[in-house]
Every structure is written in C-alpha cells, then in structure tokens.
Amino acid sequence: MINDEKQLHWLVRPTTVRKLWIGSSVVLTLVVLAQTVIYVKGYFGFDAWFGFGAIYGFASCLVMVLVAKLLGLVLKRPLDYYDDPQQQKKQESSHDKLKENSNGV
C-alpha cells in the first residue's frame, strides 16, 4: 500500500487529494465568511445579500449543467454521424499520408 502510494505522482496520491479537498473547503468557507467584515456593494439590492455570489455561482452552474445534460439527450450523436459511409475509407488513407509533414525550416 505504501509502495503504491510512493509510485504515484505526489499530486494524485489519495492523501494529497484529501488535503486538497480539506484546503478548498476551508478557502470556500473563508470566502463566504469574509463578507461579514468586507462590504460587498450591491447594485440591485439583492446582490449584496450575505453569500449571494456563492449561491448564485453554484446555482447557475447547476442549472447550466442540467440544461446541457437535457439538451445532450436530444443533440448528442455518434462521432461519424455526418460522415458519408463511402467516403470513410478514403478519409482513413489520406489521413495516414498527411500525418507527418514539416516545412523544412
């Protein structure tokens, strides 16, 4: 187990990842709590509420991800959706030809 951990890059060791989660949680909490001492000027009233930025940021991301997920059900297609089946063989051979090329500078 210890050997396994040593082989991993330090950044992806479970212990580091755990520390990163703890560290980020502390930062997130501090950023919200800082509003008790720092005055956030609201332009439209409600945007000065305590923790508004945090909630708004999280909520709008949640909505966007969910909308994307739902749209994905309708819009996602396999990679070769637009490919002409007859053209596919040609495409493969020409791709190999042009793989490596330099301008000779």
């Binding site: 930025g53 940021g57 991301c61 966007m64 990679l79």
Partner: protein
C-alpha cells in the same frame, strides 16, 4: 491620390509572398520580423483619414486612424508575431503564408475608412482563412473548409447587398455609426454578425476551427470574430438587438462547450461565448461599454490564443484531441499545463488576470445602464465560463485520470510563445492602466475594489465547487452535438435526396405514360391512316381508303352550306 503612409496590411501581404519565395532561416526571419515592422507601421498612423483614392465616383479611404482601430490592429500584429513564433517550426509554409495574408486582411479592416475597402479586406480574410482551415490536411478539414467558405462567402454577399443599399440610399460610403432600421442596414448587420458567429449560424466556428492544424487554429481563433466585433463597434454602437444576440451567444457557448468532448471544440465554443460578451457590450453602446468591448477583445485574443496554443501542443505531442483519451499530462508537460491554466483563469476573469480587468468593464456598463437582467446574466455566464473553460479544459487535458501518456513538453519556440502570452495575461491583470490608457474613451474605472473581488471570488470558487460536485453528470462521451448546421448538413441533404426521389418517380411515371401514348397514337395512326399494300381498299385505314368522288362532292356541298348558314347568322 496615393498613399502618404504605407498601409500596414501591405507589409503582411508582402511577407506572405516572401514566405512562399524564401526558405530556411530567411523564411523564419520574415515570419518574425514582418509583424514587428507592421506593429511599428500601425503606430505611425495618426487619427483621421490618411489617404483617399478616387475609384469610379467614390472616394476610397484605405487608411483611417483612430484609437480603437489602432488598438485592434496592435493586438492583431502582436498575435501574428507570437503565432508565427509558435508555429514556424512545424507549420507548412503555405499555411503560414495564408495565415499572414489572413492577418493582413484583418489589419486592413481595422484601418478601412470606407465600406468598399472594408468589404475588400473582409473577403481577403474569408479566402485566406479558408485556406488555413484546409491546411488541416484531413478529409474532415477539406469538408469543413468548404462549409466554412460557403458560410463566409454568403456572409460577404449579404454584407455587399447591405453596402450597395446604403450607398444608393445615402450616397455615402463612409464608415459611420448607424442603427439597423431598414433593409440595407439590416443586411450589413447580418453580414457582420455571420463573421461574429452569431446565432443561428454560430456552428461554423466550432465546425471549422478544430479541423485546422494545431498551429492554424491559433491564428483562426484571433482574427475573424474580432474584426467583426470591431466592425460592430464602428458601425452599430448602441444597437439594442445586439444585447439579446450577445446574451444568446454567451449561453450557447457555455452549454455546447459543456456537451463537447473535443478539446479544441470546447475552446471554439468558448470563443462564441466570449464574443457574446463583446456583442452585448456593443449593444449597450455607452463609452464604458465600448471601452469594455475593445479591452475585452484585446485581452481575449491573448488568452484564447494561449489556450489554443496549449491545446495545440498537446495535440502535436500526443496526436489525440478528445478529452476521453487525454488526462494526467501535467506530469510531463508542466509548462504547457501552467500556461493552459493561466489562460483558463484569464478567460474565467479570475482576479489578477486580464479577463477580470476587461470583462468587468462590460458588467459595469450594464450596471450603469441599469440593465439588471443583463448584469445578472453576465454574472451567471462568468460562472459558466469558469465551469466550461476555466476548469473543464485544464482538468480533462492535464489532470482527471492518468491516461498513461507521457509526451514531451512543448518545443522551445512553442513554449516561448505561450510564456509571452501567459505573461501578458497576468500583466494586464495586475497593471490594467497600460491597456486602459489606449482605449478609445477616457477610462474612469477601478477594477479592483475589495467588495467586487470578493463577489467574483465567491462566484467563481463556488462554480468550481459545482464542477467537482457535478462531475458525475459531466461524463465525457464520444459524441458530437447537433447544431443548426444539421439543417444544411443533414436535413437539406435528405430533402434534396427526397426531391430527387420524387422527381425520379414522376419522371418514371411520365416515361411509362409517354410510351403508352406513343403506342396509342401509333395504333390510331394505323387504324385511320394505315395503308397495307393490298388491292382491297376496305382493308386500309379509314382516311387511307379510296372513296367514290360522289361522297367527296357531298361533303363539300355540306360544308359550304354550313359556311353560308354561319355567315348569315
């Protein structure tokens, strides 16, 4: 008549020709020195119209200076230099030549004093950017290049229709602020918006840019959409339609980038998203907003090129461009990773990066105009940008799982190009005054107030939290997303096939009926006119028989009486 000042665009055009003619170190020298001379030439152009040429009955003004024009031209020239540095060792010579000619078109548009010059340089850009797309070299790139060319030539035609209309209607070819009030101004607006990747044709951008070569997409990301923004600033400041269009582009970019798996396509969608911010700003149209649009375009070219560069290095080194195939590259590509992260932070307008000092001006303009919904939408979009580009791009490329790939880091020239742009991102974030002093209108704006920084930190960090909490929902799939281009890539093709089938079926029916008609007429002819060689007249067709003369006389008498009768009636 003539040029008192040599047009900067011509320097790049000459350089493009030279790139074709010289080889080796000579070519490298041209690639690196020409943009610097261009930059110098750009700053020699004073404000106002510099030269006029009489063409037909029009006064063509190929060179007109103003702060906003100079600023766009400046960033284009810087882009050509750093892009040239990035690509000169791996890009093919014709790709670089096309990229230089393409940039020449963009810089030409910057200084175009009249609509005719604008149109000429506009088409120059369309032609050579298509060639840059084709330099991707794959069958996909060829097909995407054709679609790209059709879209841009169509946009050019619409723009030309509008220009003709305005010239006929007002008699002036001057570039001056207008509003979309009649047919011709609408045509101009639509022509420009097509280049800005506005709905409903935003798809051309994400279709074409990722098909170009890793170096080509760096150039492509910079010029076309930003010249469109400049044209909007010059022609349509304060056009209210643009606010709605811009907000749509902002949201479209985020949603489609979230669905995407191809690394460069994610970045392409976020170009649409960022240009959306600028279009909103032009729509607001106040001095603060136009300053914001200009500053944001300047900063955007830098960090977007930086992102495309870092994606380009990854694709160059690994040959892979799908999020699913990448990951864990931070181990062996630290420089590319750090530069990519700086670009990602800048695009997310994180404090201390160029995105924060420029994009927040647009939000401020929305506040000043008391546009609450616009402001809130822009704030939500800022969170979304952090989600789709700020974290998603570096996370899937450099972190997430270990893909097992251990590619080398960037070659020195690509690394240097990325370092220059990464430093500019941070420099403009810490010392925004340098950029502010170049903006078209005097800037009275303080980007760093404690409250604002705290608000944006909350907004961005919690959207970062949302990313990791929602990670299971964002599982990458080997898919593409349908867009409006489905209409012409699939529906129109099916429709044409259907029409072909229907016409074919009708044709068959007609052919069958024609044969039947032929046979029928043939039968009739034989029936009435047939003359078998026989002595018996009775066996011939009715009109081929020999009749007694008396019958004929009777018929003639009958007909004549009928004629006489009718004559007197």
């Amino acid at each position: 008549m003539g040029f008192e000042i040599f047009p900067p665009a011509f320097i790049l055009l000459i350089a493009a020709v030279l790139i074709c003619l010289v080889k080796g170190h000579g070519r490298t020298a041209v690639i690196l020195i020409a943009p610097i001379i261009t930059l110098w030439a750009i700053w020699q152009i004073p404000d106002g119209v510099q030269s006029t040429i009489k063409f037909l009955s029009y006064n063509i003004e190929p060179l007109e200076g103003s702060p906003v024009r100079r600023l766009f031209a400046t960033i284009f020239a810087i882009m050509v230099f750093v892009g040239g540095l990035y690509s000169f060792r791996i890009a093919r010579w014709y790709e670089l030549a096309a990229a230089f000619a393409y940039a020449a078109g963009a810089i030409g548009v910057c200084f175009a004093g009249d609509l005719i010059t604008l149109f000429l340089y506009w088409e120059l850009m369309a032609i050579f950017s298509t060639i840059v797309v084709w330099c991707g070299g794959t069958a996909g790139a060829r097909a995407a290049g054709i679609r790209y060319a059709i879209m841009h030539l169509l946009g050019g035609v619409i723009l030309k229709v509008g220009i003709e209309g305005v010239v006929v209607g007002t008699g002036s070819i001057q570039i001056q602020p207008m509003l979309a009030t009649d047919f011709s101004t609408w045509m101009i607006l639509i022509g420009i918006l097509i280049n800005a990747a506005a709905p409903p044709v935003s798809a051309w951008l994400a279709d074409a840019y990722p098909e170009a070569s890793p170096t080509g997409s760096v150039f492509l990301s910079a010029f076309t959409t930003k010249t469109a923004v400049l044209a909007l600033i010059l022609l349509f400041p304060g056009e209210p339609v643009l606010i709605g269009i811009g907000l749509f582009m902002v949201m479209y970019g985020i949603i489609f980038a979230l669905l995407e798996n191809d690394v460069r396509r994610i970045l392409a969608y976020s170009v649409v998203n960022q240009v959306g911010f600028m279009v909103v700003a032009v729509g607001i149209g106040t001095e603060m907003a136009l300053n914001g649009a200009t500053a944001h375009a300047f900063a955007h070219i830098i960090y977007k090129a930086l992102l495309f560069m870092s994606a380009g290095v990854v694709i160059y080194r690994t040959g892979k461009n799908k999020c699913m195939e990448l990951g864990g590259l931070f181990r062996t590509m630290p420089l590319t990773c750090v530069c990519g992260i700086i670009g990602a932070l800048a695009i997310s307008s994180f404090p201390l990066t160029s995105g924060f000092t420029t994009k927040s001006m647009i939000s401020q303009a929305a506040v000043d105009g008391n546009l609450m919904w616009v402001y809130m939408a822009l704030a939500a979009a800022s969170a979304g940008v952090f989600l789709h580009a700020g974290i998603k791009f570096p996370w899937y490329v450099f972190f997430q799982k270990d893909s097992g790939l251990r590619p080398k880091d960037a070659p020195w020239n690509m690394g240097l190009a990325m370092i220059i742009f990464a430093s500019l991102c941070i420099l403009l974030g810490i010392f925004p005054e340098y950029l502010y002093s170049l903006l078209p209108y005097p800037v009275d704006y303080q980007p760093y107030t404690v409250g604002k920084v705290l608000f944006y930190l909350q907004l961005l960090l919690f959207s970062g939290l949302a990313f990791f909490v929602l990670l299971p929902l964002m599982k990458r799939t080997m898919t593409i997303s349908l867009d409006t281009d489905w209409l012409w890539r699939r529906a129109a093709v099916s429709l044409i096939k259907l029409i072909e089938q229907v016409l074919g079926a009708i044709g068959e029916v007609i052919a069958v009926q024609r044969v039947r008609l032929q046979k029928f007429l043939h039968r009739m002819a034989i029936n009435y006119l047939g003359q078998p060689h026989t002595a018996d007249s009775k066996e011939r067709g009715v009109f081929a028989r020999s009749w007694p003369i008396g019958t004929t006389a009777l018929w003639i008498a009958g007909l004549l009486s009928a004629y006489v009768l009718l004559y007197y009636l």
